[in-house]
Amino acid sequence: MKAMMTAWLTAALLLASQLAQANLTIEITRGNESATPIAVVPFAGGEGLPEDVAQVVHDDLERSGYFEPLPRRQMMDQPSESEQVRFGDWQALDTRYLVVGSAEREGDGYRLRYELLDVSGEQRMLGEVVTADAGGLRGAAHYISDQVFEAITDIRGAFSTRIAYVTSQGVGDDMQFALYVADADGHNSQQVLSSREPILSPSWSPDGGKLAYVSFETERPAIYVQELGSGKRARLTDFQGLNSAPAWSPDGRRLAMSLSKDGQPDIYVMDIASRNLQRLTRDSAIDTEPSWAPDGRSLVFTSDRSGGPQLYRHDLGSGEQKRLTFTGNYNARGRFSPDGESLFLIHRSDRGYQVARQDLDSGRLVTLSDSRWDESPSVAPNGTMVLFATQQGNSGVLGAVTADGRASFRLPSARGDVREPAWSPFLN
């Protein structure tokens, strides 16, 4: 391996990242009719704060598809602690749960107190004090959302996670690409890389500290790994031909990828420390889009060895490869659910390309999204939602759908196309 590939490169492209904001805003496109009614009351003392904490919690819970938060104008009362709550009023509104709280300044930061109440049982489920520094109010709000979500659903909340995505502007030879990371709700975006050449396939390391991605900045595709904290990065591969689709192993020590250095694109696994490559496929077909099973013992990948793209599973123990998808003639880019029991993928139907979920035991495939141009599914670390790229008008936007398909939303960007979303692992 060449010395320059092993050396950390200076992050010359990583300047002024704080200035280049590309925040996304949420639009709910399909609500869940069976969502649980909840009310998040504006926090007492929150009027002068830079962020409306209760609104952030309200939006998080609504976006999850599990909850239907009560609009503020329908609240007859705005209590800030459990002693002030008249449960009968909220029962009359069919509200099942209630979040109340208050905020006050404390030194340079804030002190937030919140409670979660079970309205029908008329009892307190949670009560906690959270402190936040001046820039940490949204983070504190996401933390409260996580606690509320888990207390009610028994599922760990994923509101404090982040997403990576790629933006592009222009056409043909005159294009500008950028890689961003942002909070899971699209806020607080930071540019990681910008280039006049394509960037794609961001993949999070399991510890959330690094991204692997493909960049064409040398006018050829190469796989890079970049530390998000320091900005330091290294070029991991620049073999002849395709260097694409990096996917981090669950133990963080290996990257699966698709390389065409030996002819047609094949799946390889690289040991990151030694740079040793293990070749998993060996055929004249296209083999790409690898993704690790959560237990690290197998990978799924896309292959057109049967004629069109279908998903296959490679067992790392036995070396056996088995076709998984049989519904329709286009199934690609599979991603495991965190429990390893199902796959999210792109399925072509007579209506176009949609996000689908296939149960691995039964083989049953269910379409989740409803537009015609969906790509790049990425699963939330708690398995409740899938983020994907779709089209709105003539622009690429991010969409999300609950794993059961009941609720969906979009995150449009103010300018340019957005695509290639990658949901981070849990970060706390």
């Binding site: 056409v171 794609l200 395709l242 694109p265 296209i286 880019r333 792109i346 390309y353």
Partner: protein, 177 residues
């Protein structure tokens, strides 16, 4: 010495139609007009640069003086196909001839797809298209050392929009000299 933009676009747009009609200008790229491409070799008598630039539309894509990069450097593909369409064989032949006759020249074959389907799979499909062109050039006697393949998949569309017109413009291989 190059075409004016207008003349150039004319030449590209009508190159196929003109090939048959302009034989009187002499020295057409033999083989390129009738599809009898493979093996037509180096028998061309050559075209003077003066003719190509002086006669406006007369300089078709198929007629390149030695040392002049061919004007037509993009070919297009059918949906989900890496098969070289007969109407583009003349373009490939002109580029092959240029590369044969200019051993120091090198080209990057940029493979592209339309936006339908997944990005990473499309990267592989774009490479397959560019490989088909590379294979064609190789049969025509172009040295492999002059040719490199880079697939962009759907990442650099030539035209935007979710319609067949845009898709058709995006499914292409570009000779980038």
């Amino acid at each position: 010495m190059q075409f004016k933009p207008y003349a150039r676009s004319l030449a590209i747009a009508f190159s196929l139609a003109l090939v048959a009609g302009c034989s009187s200008t002499g020295g057409t790229q033999d083989g390129s007009m009738d599809g009898g491409v493979a093996g037509s070799g180096a028998s061309s008598s050559g075209v003077s640069g003066g003719q190509a630039s002086g006669s406006g539309y007369g300089g078709t894509a198929g007629q390149q003086a030695d040392g002049r990069i061919p004007q037509q450097r993009t070919i297009y593909f059918a949906f989900d196909s890496d098969v070289i369409r007969p109407e583009f064989e003349s373009v490939l032949a002109a580029n092959a001839r240029f590369l044969r006759e200019n051993g120091n020249a090198s080209v990057v074959l940029q493979g592209h797809t339309d936006e339908r389907g997944t990005r990473e799979y499309n990267l592989a499909l774009g490479e397959r298209r560019a490989n088909a062109v590379e294979q064609f050039l190789s049969v025509q006697g172009v040295s492999p050392s002059q040719v490199e393949v880079v697939s962009y998949g759907e990442e650099r569309p030539a035209a935007r929009g979710q319609n067949e017109e845009a898709y058709a413009q995006n499914r292409r291989v570009v000779f980038a000299y």
